[in-house]
Amino acid sequence: MTILLQAVINGLLIGGVYALAAMGVSLMFGIMKLINFAHGEFIMLGMYIAVVFTGVGIPAGLLGIYWVVIPTMVVTAGVGALFYVALLDRAARFGESPQILLTIGLSIGGIGLAQVVAGSDFKLPPNPVNGASLALGDITFQVGPGIAFLLAVAMAIWMAWMLKRTRFGKNARAVAESRETAEMLGVNAHHVFLVTTTISIALAGLAGALVIPYHYTYPSVGEDFVVMAFLAVVIAGLGNVLGSVLGGLLLGCIQSLTATYFDIDLSTAAIYVLFLAVLLLRPEGLFTAARRTV
């Protein structure tokens, strides 16, 4: 029983990072109908930026290293805005295949760029979070993934509020529903897209900054996270932002349970079986109620 509980908790905590990554992918898809295959590389970018900030100094105390989160998000948000202005704005007219290929090219090039700039070394600044945990009886909670989990939940709540209540959220949902109609009603779709991209990439930066205390940073690190994020997004229902958070957590649990009780090698396959089952039985996604986006 302890083992089962521990496995589920581990899964939820791992799932936090998947959820953060998935949220960014899903937001962009929901509003812009674009799958950003370079999202993993933006997570990687966030990790490198965060590592650079840790070079400035790590304040004492268990959570001192987390000061880098905010500046990392600010920088990645800026990169996100640039990404939209320089590439996506123009690429929006190209149609699906060129867009997919654009982000794939960016992903390949980004890995190369990271190696050119930062070298191929594995980087992980020594810090007290790495390996730290809280114990509750026999159950332990890893601090690093735990914080990622809490922030994923917080971001999900913020996102739900933002999409529902704020002016931007309302505009974004209108654009997601029908760009033409929204524009006729006076919504500036470019502005919505710019903000969406910025938030999405800032979320990638957040995910990156939250992983660096316990995961090595290296040029191709993004790939390892992003495939899970894509699966979470699809299982939840493409474009369903909040569902993607649940999707990420669910995948974390499946991964943890298969790894604990069967074989971690099979967890990819187990997740894929779930994925096919969802496609066959609930093509609109596990967590999508009606045909609604966002």
């Binding site: 295949s97 290929l101 794939i104 890995i111 190369g112 495939v227 990819t268 396959a269 894929y272």
Partner: protein
């Protein structure tokens, strides 16, 4: 049809020219390019013509490659027979994945196929007793014997590849003029319109997915005997899947010559960047990736379109214009 004849003539010229080349490296690069072009062309049959982007075509390379080689090495099944079984296995796999995912729209399909290749890799690694797992399977060269797809000269693989590329190109050209080709064109335009026109979309898509898988697999079984080594990370990896998609899009999905030009261009950038910058890590990959970005941003319809535009701007001779009309 004229563009198809022109392409086959060009490939024949390449085949003839290969006899003037002795450098095994250049022959090797030409061979690799040819097989990449075969896969790009096969991919285009599905994704370019129907608009469903597959990012998992490497499963149709890994599957037949492993089936053929394992059957040959373990049970001494003749290579050609094993190759047919391998192609059949790839088609069955395509029917299975396709039936589950092709009912859905583009992005789902892209992600579903992408993860299919991840799963294929994890299964190959897991069942290492059969597949050799991460060690891969070396294919020892015994003697030149075409029935075992063993040739003692790289050029032979190049020539077989060029022949296969011709066949695939003719097939794709013929397909575009066929009943099914018309249906696919309607589906690409709009699935709602296709449905309203009485076209069974799911069936059509699964059928062309299977065709695309079969052509890809046909290239794969020859290719692995050129490579003489089954590397799971490469054959079933994400990179190859993604690259195959890149070829057609870089070259231009709407053109018969698109995937071939795209594969040639991509491989050229790849080997040149590797030779030029290979001693300093990262540069070659960076150049490769960002050149794709530059091409997509400059001409999203691909290099063929770019070439046509340049020809047009430079006062195209009448014959070129007719080729261009036909390519459309």
């Amino acid at each position: 049809m004229r563009s198809c004849a022109a392409i086959c003539a060009m490939l024949a010229v390449v085949a003839a020219a290969s006899f003037l080349i002795q450098d095994s490296y250049i022959l090797g690069v030409m061979t690799v390019t040819t097989f990449l072009a075969i896969w790009g062309q096969s991919w285009n049959l599905l994704s370019g013509l129907s608009g469903n982007v597959s990012l998992g075509h490497s499963v149709f390379i890994a599957m037949p490659a492993y089936v053929t080689v394992v059957l040959f090495q373990t049970w001494h099944v003749p290579v050609l027979a094993g190759a047919l079984l391998g192609i059949a296995a790839a088609v069955a796999l395509a029917a299975f994945i396709g039936a589950a995912t092709l009912r859905l729209s583009g992005p789902y399909f892209a992600l579903a196929t992408l993860s299919a290749s991840a799963v294929m890799l994890s299964l190959i690694l897991h069942f290492s007793d059969i597949t050799g797992g991460p060690n891969g399977i070396p294919i020892a060269f015994t003697e030149a014997d075409w029935t075992n797809l063993e040739f003692d000269h790289t050029r032979s693989y190049l020539l077989v590849g060029l022949g296969l590329l011709c066949v695939v190109t003719i097939f794709v050209a013929g397909f575009r003029r066929s009943r099914l080709g018309f249906y696919v064109a309607v589906i690409k335009s709009s699935e709602a319109v296709a449905r309203a026109a009485g076209i069974r979309i799911a069936l059509v898509k699964v059928v062309i997915y299977c065709m695309s898988a079969a052509l890809t697999a046909a290239g794969a079984v020859v290719y692995v005997f050129y490579l003489r080594f089954l590397d799971p990370g490469f054959l079933a990896g994400l990179t190859l899947s993604v690259e195959i998609a890149l070829f057609a899009v870089v070259g231009g999905t709407g053109f018969l010559a698109g995937p071939i030009l795209g594969a040639a261009f991509y491989e050229l950038i790849d080997v040149v960047a590797n030779a030029r910058f290979g001693d300093v890590g990262g540069w070659d990959v960076m150049v490769l990736g960002f050149s794709v970005v530059v091409i997509v941003m400059t001409e999203p319809r691909g290099l063929c379109e770019l070439a046509l535009r340049l020809v047009r701007a430079g006062g195209a001779p009448a014959r070129m214009r007719s080729v261009q009309r036909e390519a459309k």
